[in-house]
């Protein structure tokens, strides 16, 4: 472990670390553009210049390894002057686009310009012209003029997504980022290049011009896109979710997130959201109060024999919801049958995307729910069932079996659907209970490797919809056997007492990145 001095402070650092990494670890901030902790080192922006004793010239911090007895200074006059010079060069071809640029507010160039007090340009010639708002990929918009050629995006496509669409073309003043001829920036992780772009050269086509970033509030949550459960931040303003950004979690997603995960927030504000409880009267579904809906369920369930009632859980539900649903079915309804659930799947890859396309199938399995893929739907609903309680609509996810399933279900005496969106399933139900999407509820998710993470409520439920925990407790109450608690943290305490694998889990211990369950 080499010991070195940084700004007069003697610190120890791991062998092989560069000055920049050691500085960050010791709370010293060195401005940089091209360096990214999860990409290889390029050293092309020259912003992180520092003064090292016995080295005649200033040297870049990002690519100089720390050696024993090194004396580094990051804030001398010489360093500041050099940095200001680098900034001046960066700004030569950078347009004064801040009022229209989406990156404004989270732009490194803007931040450093402000910090270094650069108020005017000495450059008297024409700025380099370039393509504005060029669609470099289906989800990414590229602005050639704003690019400062840090090559983070190039390195990302080569090293992380391993697709390598991008490269720097031409030389010198004319060098420019572009895709190779004939292809576009179209990989499953392309929007990460937008995140790591230090300026506004790459912007998210979907989020562009929607809202200013300084108005957005951030809520720490978990991506519901697949069973990898990437840590995310939900950016929202006035009850509307605008974008999802990845959050650092070295155990789960490092700092990346897939493009499919980023559009999961679109399910929140759609026209087909279920917003009020509905009960079938005659042949039509009619709006009722929550109490009436709960009473209808209680009456309907009590009429039917225990062994003729089935339950299908949701792989999208949180651990707490899975547990309470189990409790509702086993203890309140007294049903001995297993709770089944259908998990939709898609193509997995070896970076982040996992095969099961639901947030919490692993959590459901921990609570004894049987998970099946979409092809086995028919097997589950066959038999002598007369009543069914379904959470979610994954049961009709498979288009091959959809019509058969709907036909079988419509023959049931009593069908309860607890779902977020209006679908063919909810239209044949006897009682429809509107529930909350991932951004509207609090709870924990267990990912495929057993990491339990907490997700928080970012926006309120639309109209009369309620989080699933409240709905389940409402049903239990109407059945005359109310739950002790429905607060997510109290429910988790109950889970850790009753479920063996969750023994070490409680909300205080989870923190921001979550912990692993015992297997």
């Amino acid at each position: 472990m080499p010991t070195f001095t940084i700004n007069g402070k003697e610190v120890k650092t791991e062998a092989g670390k560069t000055i920049l990494q050691a500085a960050v670890a010791n709370g010293v901030r060195i401005p940089h553009f091209c360096y990214h902790p999860h990409l290889s080192i390029d050293g092309c922006c020259r912003m992180c210049l520092v003064e090292v004793e016995k080295i005649p010239k200033l040297t870049i911090a990002c690519n100089t390894p720390v050696t024993e007895g090194m004396v580094v200074r990051t804030n001398t006059e010489k360093v500041l002057k050099a940095r200001k010079g680098v900034m001046e060069f960066q700004l030569i071809n950078h347009p004064l686009d801040c009022p229209i640029c989406d990156q404004a507010g989270e732009c490194k160039l803007q931040q450093y310009t402000f910090e270094h007090g650069i108020t005017h340009s000495r450059f008297r010639e024409e700025k380099r012209p370039g393509r504005k708002r060029f669609k470099i990929g289906p989800r990414v918009v590229f602005d050639e003029e704003r690019c400062i050629l840090c090559r983070r995006c190039v390195r990302f496509c080569r090293e992380v997504s391993k697709t390598g669409e991008l490269a720097v073309f031409s030389r010198g003043d004319k060098s420019i980022i572009n895709t190779y001829p004939g292809i576009s920036l179209d990989n499953k992780y392309s929007l990460n290049t937008v995140d790591i772009c230090p300026v506004g050269a790459l912007t998210n086509a979907d989020f562009r011009f929607q809202v200013r970033v300084w108005f957005l509030e951030e809520t720490k949550a978990v991506c519901p896109g697949c069973s990898n459960n990437c840590s995310i931040r939900i950016c929202h303003r006035r009850g509307k979710v605008y974008r999802l950004l990845p959050r650092k979690n070295m155990d789960v997603n490092k700092v990346w997130m897939c493009d499919n995960g980023r559009i999961t927030h679109k399910q929140i504000e759609t026209s087909n959201r279920l917003t009020v409880p509905l009960v079938k009267k005659g042949n039509k579904l009619e709006e009722v109060s929550w109490n009436e809906a709960f009473d209808t369920i209680a009456k309907g369930i009590q009429k039917i024999k225990n062994n003729e009632i089935g339950a299908i859980g949701s792989p999208h539900a949180t651990n707490e919801e899975c547990y309470l649903f189990n409790k509702l079915i086993k203890n309140v309804f007294n049903i001995k049958n297993d709770i089944e659930c259908i998990v939709p799947s898609w193509e997995a890859d070896d970076l982040l995307i996992k095969k099961e396309k639901a947030a919490n199938p692993q959590g459901a399995r921990e609570f004894g729910v049987k998970t099946n893929d979409t092809s086995s739907v028919k097997k589950i609903i066959k038999g002598n069932l007369k009543a069914l309680y379904i959470i979610g609509n994954d049961i009709i996810d498979n288009s091959n079996t959809k019509q058969d399933v709907l036909q079988t279900l419509s023959k049931l005496d009593f069908l309860v659907v607890q779902d977020t969106h209006n679908s063919d399933l909810s239209s044949i139900a006897n009682v429809v209970l509107p529930s909350a999407t991932f951004a509207e509820k609090e709870g924990t998710f267990t990912n495929i490797n057993g990491f339990v993470q907490k997700t928080n409520r970012a926006v309120p439920c639309p109209a009369k919809a309620k989080p699933d925990l409240e709905i389940l407790s409402g049903v239990a109450k109407a059945m005359g056997r109310p739950f002790e608690t429905i607060e997510p943290d109290k429910v988790m305490d109950e889970i850790s007492k009753n479920v063996k694998s969750f023994k070490n889990i409680c909300y205080e211990k989870l923190g921001e990145t979550g912990i692993k369950i015992n297997n």
Binding site: C98, P99, I100, A104, H120, K132, R133, R208, F209, Q210, V211, R212, W214, F215
Partner: protein, 184 residues
């Protein structure tokens, strides 16, 4: 609390009476001018009254360019607003009365306000929006007659805020002078 303003009076001021009489003469000058100033206009219709009050609303005050009336959006020669919906006025507004919904446009400026509303019932006429605007797109006009009996009508929408550049030229020149690039 006694505030020491560091004022030292001259000998002339300290003897008190001359300054008192000077004050009285200013006041009585105004009084007598208002008392008889209308007579010339009464005898000859072409002459202007010399009194200090105005017959509002028949007569309107001509405001100096420094006057801060209701904020308006400048419309450029090409007929579109200068505003690019950057959101700086929205964040700087101390009364939080501005609301902007940006959107993309085919024009060269890329970005424009799809909707822009100012709640004039809340506006405090501080002029921060004008000062912060990087495009000189929102300026304080000389309009001050905005009172209404209905609060809902006090929400000024984009079409009510747009005013052509020619009408605002005086204020635009003035803000260039006071908020100009190197004046801070």
């Amino acid at each position: 609390m006694i505030v020491n303003r560091n004022i030292t009076m001259t000998w002339w001021e300290r003897i008190y009476l001359p300054e008192i009489f000077r004050g009285i003469s200013v006041t009585s000058n105004h009084f007598f001018r208002n008392l008889i100033g209308f007579i010339p206009a009464l005898l000859n219709k072409d002459k202007k009254r010399k009194i200090f009050t105005l017959y509002y609303p028949d007569e309107k005050v001509e405001f100096p360019p420094a006057y801060r009336g209701r904020p308006v959006l400048v419309v450029d020669e090409n007929g579109t607003e200068r505003c690019v919906a950057c959101g700086l006025c929205e964040i700087v507004c101390p009364a939080k009365c501005i609301e902007i919904q940006p959107d993309e446009t085919e024009l060269e400026k890329e970005r424009y306000p799809k909707s822009f509303s100012i709640n004039m019932a809340r506006c405090i006429f501080c002029g921060f929006c004008e000062e912060v605007c990087p495009k000189e797109a929102i300026v304080m006009s000389d309009e001050c007659e905005i009172a209404d009996l209905d609060r809902n009508k006090m929400f000024y929408k984009k079409d009510q805020l747009l005013i052509s550049k020619n009408k605002l030229q005086k204020r635009l020149n003035y803000i260039k002078e006071i908020y100009g690039k190197w004046n801070y």
